[in-house]
Symmetry: C2
Subunit: 431 residues, 2 copies
């Protein structure tokens, strides 16, 4: 295989190389798209076996080398952590593959079946999207998760992982290559780009008519780069600046439980709470309680002027706080004038990810659900439930915050399109 | 209002002008998105009244001027015909608006409702996409059709029609302006670009975060221009090179009826038949029949060498014929080796639009439905049924031949996204 370095030396060779890989992957995707669930599951079963057996030591070794080089290159410790694949984490990756095997195969399933007055039987059949490009950063588990979901949904996939995990990803991709070939498929149905050069990524996301969809997974700058340079469709997932609005008619105990869970359960993920909105009507009673409870959990609170009047020890929030995805144990808190004020704040600062209200007033609840524009709107529940697994999709390849194709978690069904299937007995159009 | 000419003279002013229009339209779309079906129907009812009454003479007059200028500028006669709005055609436009009023409102409807084991009640609620840009050519009826569908689905819309119909479109847009204002909405929810300058179109389709979707409707070069220059999502509808495959096990009478209807019923539209594929097993018996029947209807036939052996008077097809959308009474005919050959031909030359098989063998029928990659796959039915109205969607804003968001006709539901709605009673995530 050509090394990343070698290709970077000869930039003119990158575009044709990527095009050739994609054409091969696209051709392989057709066979995978027509395969039975049994055959696709057999591939995933072999992937799991390879990851547990023959390739296990090689993966862990490659990962140690990646982490060592990352540390030497001054990779931030949070990034080093994301890059690291311990034996336990590898077990979790394998468990995820086995979980995807258990999920129902979406391909070929029908929706909207009906018989029209002219006797035509019509419906919509789920079919794979075709060839998907996944562009991601350090986390090597994405390599396996994404590839497993694509195989199960009958899609070909080209993986472009971060340069930090290049060695690890090469071995992980080998598991798919071996499994595909052992089950009689072309190895090209799951391909890792042999270079992490940006020119290769750019070439990949400009292959209109060959690549059907690009899914960037990672930080805002990566997503922006893909969105601005792609000519193929992109499913965007920008940051999650998620809010909980505690209404004056909320059950305080419930509100405290939901706010704490939304913020503290796993602060580094996109569905975690970033800004708490408190109704002026209950602020004097509620804010001191929630501040005390969250501070006891190690959360740093930043409040607006009105919040600091009822909780004077709280630090002052700046204008930038309201648009910030902390991804850590920091929470900004604003006082709002009832649901109207909360809706306005969310419309201005929300990121169309997850927005929750806590209230016992059902009219306010319904208004929130209807008017808030976000991939998931919630009443009296933790923001942490905006997740493919939690919402019953089984697994997700990402959470879309734009409205095209999918809005919210993308599971196996969202990795499919629906074509119209028409069965007649000789019908023609009159008129 | 600034004239098209004026703006073209000052290109630097176009981008800020278009951005300002779009920001206003986006703001107006929020109110429309939250409106009841009754209010939206009231707007459409007033549009119909304006088109039948106060504005009728002004529209027809403007159209006469547009057609006159088009003729003077040497517009092709087919194009002049598309541009022309007779009184009868205007009546049909009004009837279409009244038809859209009758359709169910998709906004707020729920799908996938379920109660999860933890007691959370979840489901998906249809919401408008937001602000849609429609970029089209000469036909002024698109102005009203597209705007009516957007209003009904709660979306704001910016219309960019062809320069040939600019005067007509200005008056048609006035009907929406008056109707929106009379019902208490902002007139900005339906805006016609005040210039047909290409720079304005380019600016429009690059307004990421403001324009949610661009739908180009028209010839291949327009669609390509939008696809290659947009940074906002685009729903593409490239050409329809549609096939009918007549299998050796077909009922010949049915096959003749379907082929004739697919080709002759309305040859200028995208779901019309362009290439007939005939199974070698029945070619000697079927080809002379179908050639005679179609020639009697004025169809020019172009065959491959094998077809010309069984129908010697047929003209020879060239390589370009297999990829050509004639949109007229021309049909190319190829002989194939059974369903395998037909599948290969369609995979190579099809445009993912509409593909039909005529066969009485159900195993072949099911294989066709499963394996052919097209927005509509059909057994024993005319290709002309791939149409929003015929498939029960009510009306369509276009037919997508790419798989993202919609594959096939786009009706009111496809002009919506689905957000997740979660109702709890205090649930938090454990683990």
């Amino acid at each position: 295989m050509l090394s990343s370095q070698h290709l970077s030396d000869v930039p003119g060779q990158i575009e044709p190389l990527v095009r050739d890989l994609a054409i091969r992957a696209k051709a392989a995707s057709v066979t995978l798209g027509n395969a039975t669930a049994e055959k696709k599951n057999a591939v995933l079963g072999r992937v799991a076996e390879e990851l547990m057996g023959p390739l296990r030591a090689e993966i862990l070794q490659a990962n140690v080398a990646d982490v060592r080089d990352g540390a030497a290159a001054g990779l931030a410790s949070a990034m080093q952590d994301r890059l690291t694949l311990t034996a336990a984490r590898l077990d979790a990756v394998v468990a995820a593959v086995r979980y995807v095997m258990e999920l129902p195969d979406p391909v070929g399933t029908m929706t909207d079946a009906k018989v029209l007055p002219n006797g035509l039987s019509v419906g919509r059949m789920r079919v794979p999207l075709g060839l998907i490009a996944i562009i991601y950063e350090a986390r090597p588990n994405v390599t396996v998760d994404a590839a497993a979901l694509c195989v199960k949904s009958g899609n070909g996939v080209i993986l472009r992982g971060g340069k930090e995990s290049f060695r690890t990803n090469q071995v992980l991709a080998k598991a798919f290559e071996r499994a595909l070939v052992a089950e009689g498929f072309s190895k090209d149905a799951v391909l890792l780009l042999p270079t992490t050069d940006r020119a290769a990524t750019t070439a990949l996301i400009r292959l209109s008519g060959i690549v059907d969809l690009a899914i960037p997974r990672g930080g805002e700058s990566l997503i922006r780069f893909v969105s601005e340079n792609a000519t193929v469709p992109v499913i965007q997932h920008y940051k999650g600046v998620c809010h909980v609005y505690v209404d004056g008619e909320a059950d305080f105990d419930m509100a405290l439980r939901i706010v704490e869970n939304s913020k503290v359960h796993r602060p580094g993920v996109c569905n975690a709470l970033e800004t708490l909105l408190v109704d002026r009507a209950c602020a004097a009673a509620f804010v001191p309680k929630v501040v005390a409870q969250l501070e006891a959990k190690g959360v740093e609170i930043r409040g607006d002027a009105a919040i600091r009047e009822v909780a004077p020890k709280v630090a002052a929030a700046t204008a930038a706080d309201w648009d910030t995805e902390y991804l850590s144990l920091i929470l900004s808190v604003a006082m709002v004038d009832g649901i109207e004020g909360a809706l306005q704040h969310v419309a201005k600062h929300g990121s169309h990810h997850t927005e929750a209200i806590v209230t016992s007033n059902s009219a306010k609840a319904e208004r929130w659900l209807r008017e808030v524009d976000a991939s998931a709107v919630m009443v009296n529940a933790s923001t942490r439930f905006n997740d493919g697994g939690e919402l019953g999709l089984g697994a997700e390849i990402g959470i879309s915050t734009s409205k095209m194709h999918a809005y919210g978690p993308m599971g196996l069904e969202e990795l499919c399109a629906r074509k119209w299937v028409v069965r007649g007995d000789g019908q023609v159009r009159g008129g």
